[in-house]
């Protein structure tokens, strides 16, 4: 094709775009504009309605950060496994559920032993440790059954196996633990609220947020600093080359699943502390939220999982009041999942690489 000479009557960028674009681009642009318009209209309505005070918004934000940090913990498991295996672990949400129940049983045992009341500050770390152990153990079982047999095979079988494992776990748990909602025994000191900078914040939210930050910091330090972290990066970049410099690839994959499972276990326990009740079917919805957070931040990217979790949590917490309220909907908080899943769909359409991009896949392709 010969190059078109640039003339004085060079077409503008817009007509150039019109010439090159297809109807798919037009539909996508229309969706973009309508989503933006909806959000703006809702925002304007929500801000002028005056239903909520500034203090309300701050407490929504606090709640968003808490649930966001729980999403981030779940998202890390998805993102780590994806980074190393290029596979989504669809049973990860149920790993979280198992971790949550492990925490429940530990808390029950500690309560029976009277330790929850005698040593309340020690009991919480023990319950968290039980959740981590439960999540890690479950994650290792899933790796063993659904992923290891297919390590050297290029197939989608692990995904199908993981979905199967998810149902097996849900219904096994239903048989073993029952369908009713369960609640952790009360930790005396965690009842009630504290006044923070003039705001009333429930203690469990603060505890969950801080615990999540500590665990996240530990994980990032592990990956950035330790030899294991270096080996994980190497396996993620080129599994064969990693083996040939002496890295035990199988062991690194196992460690990745264990760490991801432990993070999910922590998330399960923290969720139980904040929301007071757990069920055997909680894993599915929270798993999808964690997955959405991982995609939102850019799957395969640890910092992205953290950012995606917090953004999703904030959007869910603030969205109903800020945006949905503006349309005069009767019960905006019933619709917070619309925002969460809507964001997942929008991200997949408009920015599939996520907020922080996916370094690994881009160079692999």
């Amino acid at each position: 094709m010969s190059e078109v000479p640039r003339s004085a009557t060079e077409p503008g960028a817009f007509s150039e775009w019109l010439r090159r674009s297809t109807w798919v681009d037009h539909v996508l642009l229309a969706i973009r504009i309508s989503v933006a318009a909806l959000v703006l209209v809702g925002l304007a309505g929500g801000l002028t309605a005056g239903t909520y005070s500034a203090a309300d918004f701050v407490s929504f934000t606090m709640f968003g950060l808490t649930i966001g940090s729980i999403y981030a913990l779940i998202a890390l498991g998805y993102t780590m496994v994806y980074g190393i295996l290029r596979m989504i672990n669809f049973a990860h949400g149920d790993v979280m559920m198992i971790g949550s129940f492990a925490g429940l049983f530990a808390a029950g045992a500690l309560n029976d032993a009277g330790l929850v009341n005698a040593l309340p500050l020690l009991a919480l770390p023990l319950v968290l440790a039980a959740g981590m152990a439960g999540g890690a153990a479950m994650s290792l079982i899933i790796e063993r059954i659904a992923y290891r047999p297919f390590l050297h095979v290029r197939s989608l079988a692990p995904l199908i196996c993981a979905i199967g494992m998810s149902f097996v776990l849900q219904y096994a748990a239903r048989g073993l633990f029952g369908t009713r909602n369960r609640a952790y025994p009360g930790f005396g000191w965690m009842e009630g609220t504290v006044s923070l900078f003039g705001l009333i914040v429930p203690i469990p939210q603060i505890v969950a947020f801080i615990a999540a930050l500590i665990v996240l910091a530990g994980l990032l330090a592990l990956v950035k600093l330790s030899p294991l972290g270096k080996a994980m990066r190497a396996v993620a970049e080129d599994r064969d080359a990693a083996a040939l410099v002496g890295i035990n690839v199988g062991a690194v994959i196992v460690a990745t699943f264990a760490i991801g499972g432990a993070m999910a276990g922590v998330a399960g326990v923290l969720y139980a502390l904040v929301f007071k009740q757990i069920t055997v079917f909680m894993g599915f919805a929270l798993g999808v939220k964690g997955f959405a957070a991982a995609i939102l931040g850019g799957i395969g990217n640890l910092g992205g999982a953290l950012l995606g979790g917090l953004v999703l949590g904030l959007a869910e917490a603030l969205g109903p009041a800020l945006v949905l309220e503006g349309f005069g909907l009767p019960a905006p908080y019933q619709l917070k999942d619309v925002i969460g899943y809507g964001m997942l769909v929008m991200i997949l359409i408009f920015r599939p690489q996520g907020l922080l991009g996916e370094r690994l896949a881009s160079k692999r392709a």
Binding site: G218, A221, L222, L225, S226, P227, L228, K230, A231, R233, A234, E237, D238, D240, A241, A242, A243, L244, V245, G246, I247, N248, V249, G250, R359, L360, K363
Partner: protein
């Protein structure tokens, strides 16, 4: 390129963590009756290979002769169908790839396989993976041992980057480096673990004559200064004839012949394997490149 270091006199003694092996003619790597079949397709069979310790041994042969398959079997990258592989008298076939690597078998790839999103320095640090012993908690808490190991590993990595001639690249991402430097980096990553044998798969591919000469010099130093036995697959006959003590010729999945460079150059069968029978002028005309290479090597 840095100046050539006199043998055995290395800066600060950091490069070597063991005495230079006394060159012996006992085989370091011994391959017996190696066979690899992919389904019904036999890639190699009846491969016997004996690599003397402290030698530079070249493997040549037309494309598809099974050279890289033999490498892949030896490094446990693919499991052999039959045969036995010994390293220093110890059987290594059947071990997982990372264990074979830990026994002291290092390699590079035909198409460079670095960790593209790591810097050159990080690539070489990963190559020292098995040398690091600090635990997770020591790493997190920044214990003395962890910091000492890290510092040592970095110093060692820099030594090896300098050894292969790319110290200025330490901070560059591997994927941003020019191809020739990537090849050198891959060699540094392979060497830093302190292997007994280094297997280079077409190290001179895509190099110009000057780079080829530098590569020959680097291989000489790897053998002389580090005491590492080198096996290389190579098509550039100039490089092969300059550097190899012994040459094994592969053809159609089996060993055609083995000998010194002089013997190989005089062997009619080798030229025939590359070019087809003398009467087959068409084959020679269709692929002038090997002929040029052979002539260059022989000249």
């Amino acid at each position: 390129m840095p100046d050539v270091l006199p043998p055995n006199r290395l800066p600060d003694g950091l490069l070597l963590d063991r005495p230079l092996p006394i060159p012996s003619r006992a085989p370091l790597l011994d391959v017996r009756g190696l066979k690899k079949a992919f389904g019904g397709m036999i890639a190699i069979q009846n491969v016997d290979l004996s690599i003397a310790e402290g030698s530079v041994h070249a493997i040549i042969g037309p494309n598809g002769a099974g050279k890289t398959t033999a490498f892949n079997c030896i490094t446990a990258f693919v499991p052999p169908t039959a045969g036995r592989i010994f390293l220093g008298g110890e059987r290594i076939d059947g071990l997982p790839a990372h264990v074979v690597a830990r026994h002291g078998v290092a390699r590079t790839y035909q198409n460079v396989r670095l960790f593209p999103n790591m810097t050159a320095l990080e690539n070489v640090l990963v190559g020292q993976h098995r040398r690091l012993h600090a635990t997770f908690w020591e790493a997190i808490l920044g214990s003395g041992r962890f910091r000492r190991e890290e510092a040592e590993a970095r110093a060692r990595a820099m030594e090896y980057l300098a050894f292969v001639g790319i110290p200025q690249r330490a901070g560059d991402l591997a994927r941003h480096m020019p191809y020739g430097d990537q090849r050198r980096l891959e060699i540094a990553r392979a060497l830093v673990a302190g292997p007994r044998i280094l297997m280079l798969d077409e190290p001179a591919a895509g190099m110009n004559p000057a780079e080829g000469r530098a590569l020959v010099e680097l291989i000489e130093r790897i053998r002389a200064d580090l005491g590492v036995t080198v096996v290389l697959i190579e098509h550039h006959m100039r490089v092969v004839m300059a550097v190899a003590e012994r040459i094994t010729v592969f053809n159609r999945g089996a060993i055609l012949t083995e000998g010194t460079p002089g013997e190989i150059q005089a062997d009619e069968r080798v030229i025939e394997a590359y070019l087809g029978r003398r009467s087959g002028q068409v084959a020679a005309a269709a692929s002038p490149e090997p002929q040029r290479q052979m002539e260059a090597g022989i000249a």
